[in-house]
């Protein structure tokens, strides 16, 4: 089995300010831009690599290509007007933004959410997690040359997008979870159609498992590569599947249950190797768990009930001064909204805590030195980062 042990002793030590003293004029090193226009990059970001031969000596993440100034725009909008733009913070899994923002507003404005709405919210979040994991599996397989798995996963994700469309009216940005509840009930016959999608997904996943986790190509490229020391998890703020692949069963759904997760039964899967293979495996198992969770939610949820509570007149809606932080477990880790209000009709400050913020910046820059150029793409997709939530 191929194993890659980086020997960092021959690379220059970073100075006290964290900068590497690399003299490009010696001709020994080369600067290589990995992105933003690169097939092996996750979204619109770039990594500035300094390479020596095939080995990467130093990597710097550059973000900001997707910066729209959301946190500033939100300060200019009333609490209800913020709604259309929160979901656009994170493209592949927008529902977490809606939930976290809605829950933060509800907490500060003291609004009760009906039980039925909580169940539908949980369903939506799990469906979003399904989508996001499908995207991640497709990305990992695509970056490692198993394009056909990517095709299957995108197709299955598309079937789930159809269910989203049926439920919310939109494919990507749903704007379904509002403060006070959700917009509508489930349509008639939704469970049966969802079951159909889940069965198709299971069929494709069984094939994908054979093709990915039992393939020698995939194993050779991923086992032992991109190792994160579990001792670093706390220092670098690693959460979600990346931490679970290193044996730390961090999951906000279990640690501090929100919505109706305390009434659901599910296992938090962990691995111990903490390499790319383990991270992919954790995602795969979690995806299976999500499929079971969707079934469980549809079985356990009440059939009737209010989905929206009474809101005050949204044109004159003022929220007293306060601050709160709402978090949830997205498919990439802990996702949270920090909301500060000052007694006016506008939020004072909203800060989005995306898991990619730490994964793609500090952690990736720490992991990159010592890898091969060809492994950088695999490493990046295995961390499962989405640039829009880094820069908002």
């Amino acid at each position: 089995m191929f194993s890659f042990k980086p020997d960092r002793s021959q690379y220059p030590e970073p100075g006290p300010d964290g900068k590497l003293e690399i003299d490009l004029e010696t001709g020994k090193y080369l600067k290589l831009w990995h992105g933003p226009n690169h097939p092996g990059i996750t979204g619109n970001m770039s990594v500035e690599l300094t390479v020596c031969g095939d080995e990467v000596v130093d990597g710097k993440t550059h973000v900001g290509y997707l910066h729209r100034g959301f946190e500033k725009l939100m300060e200019r909008r009333t609490f209800i007007q913020v709604f259309p733009i929160v979901c656009r913070v994170c493209v592949p899994e927008p529902d977490f933004n809606e939930y976290c923002y809605a829950a933060a507003v509800e907490e500060l404005a003291d609004i009760d959410v009906p039980e039925m709405a909580n169940w539908i919210r949980t369903l939506i979040l799990e469906m979003g997690r399904f989508n996001s994991y499908m995207m991640a599996m497709g990305g990992i397989s695509g970056a490692l040359g198993l394009g056909v798995v990517g095709q299957w996963m995108t197709y299955t994700r598309d079937l789930m997008l159809d269910r989203f469309e049926e439920l919310t009216g939109a494919r990507i940005y749903h704007m379904f979870i509002l403060p006070g509840g959700v917009r509508a009930h489930l349509p008639e016959g939704f469970e049966a159609r969802m079951e159909e999608v889940l069965q198709t997904a299971e069929k494709y996943l069984a094939d994908a498992e054979k093709l990915m986790f039992h393939s020698s190509v995939f194993k050779t490229r991923t086992k032992g590569v991109g190792y994160i020391d579990p001792a670093l998890f706390e220092r670098y703020g690693v959460t979600g599947p990346n931490a679970r692949a290193g044996g730390v069963a961090k999951d906000v759904r279990k640690d501090s249950p929100y919505l109706v997760y305390d009434q659901l039964e599910f296992t938090v899967h962990t691995e111990t190797e903490s390499d790319i293979y383990a991270r992919t495996l954790v995602r795969y198992k979690d995806l299976q768990e999500t499929i079971q969770l969707i079934r469980q939610i549809l079985r356990k949820m009440p059939k009737t009930g209010e989905v929206m509570s009474n809101l005050p007149n949204v044109l004159h809606w003022k929220i007293p001064r306060g601050e709160t932080y709402i978090k949830g477990e997205s498919s990439r880790g802990e996702y949270g909204y920090y909301l500060v209000t000052d007694g006016t009709g506008y939020p004072r400050r909203i800060n989005v805590r995306g898991p990619s913020y730490t994964h793609a910046m500090a952690l990736l820059e720490h992991l990159i030195p010592g890898t091969n150029i060809s492994d950088v793409a695999a490493l990046m997709v295995s961390l499962h980062t989405y640039p829009p939530e880094i820069e908002r």
């Binding site: 004029e25 933003p36 097939p39 910066h67 990507i172």
Partner: protein, 230 residues
Amino acid sequence: MKDVDDKFRKDTEKQVPLREELKPRKVTTPDGQEIDIDPLRDYFCDAKPKVHPKAYSKIVEDFYNWARSNSLWILGFGTGCGAIEMRPLMTPRFDAYRYGIQWRPTPRQANLLVISGYLSVKTLKRAIRAYEQMPSPKYVMGLGSCTINGGMYWDSYNTIKRLDDYLPVDMYVAGCMPRPEALLHGFMELKRVIREGKGEGANTYAENFDQYKVNQKAVIKDWDMPDYNW
């Protein structure tokens, strides 16, 4: 510009200093010679783009346009949220490949630049570079309302409001974000436009090159690349 807030005036005085690695400097070569290097002048071609003349007879030009319309090769550069609907297009369900549309990893092999949504100023710089590196004839397609008039980000300080000020756009697809079906329809329309000989974006860019550069430089404050990046 009628209701501009008078209280806030943007800072127009400050200039961005040139990056250290782009300043002219002296370099010692391995054989001991000292040479002067001006990175902005030496590493790039600074020839202006030329207008591509039409073929001498109409039937030949029509044939060319027919051929061009049937091989739209897209640069796989996801500049905004619309990029997420590109993946369903590449996969069997919507399958854009059956129309001769495919995605290429490098601008040198592509002839269609799809600006998939809002463009922040930082990405605009990269998009201009990517566009100028593409071989002619080339086309630009703008997705989403953000490329048309700013869309949802009409008051954002970091996104441009209309794309055709900076790049010659051949086709817009409206929506936030456009569905794959809308994208396919947009590609079909673009094909029709090209077949009719109206896909003249690259020539428009060459004709109004100075005006485009003025517009681009008005927004990109740290213009640290040559005017034409071959």
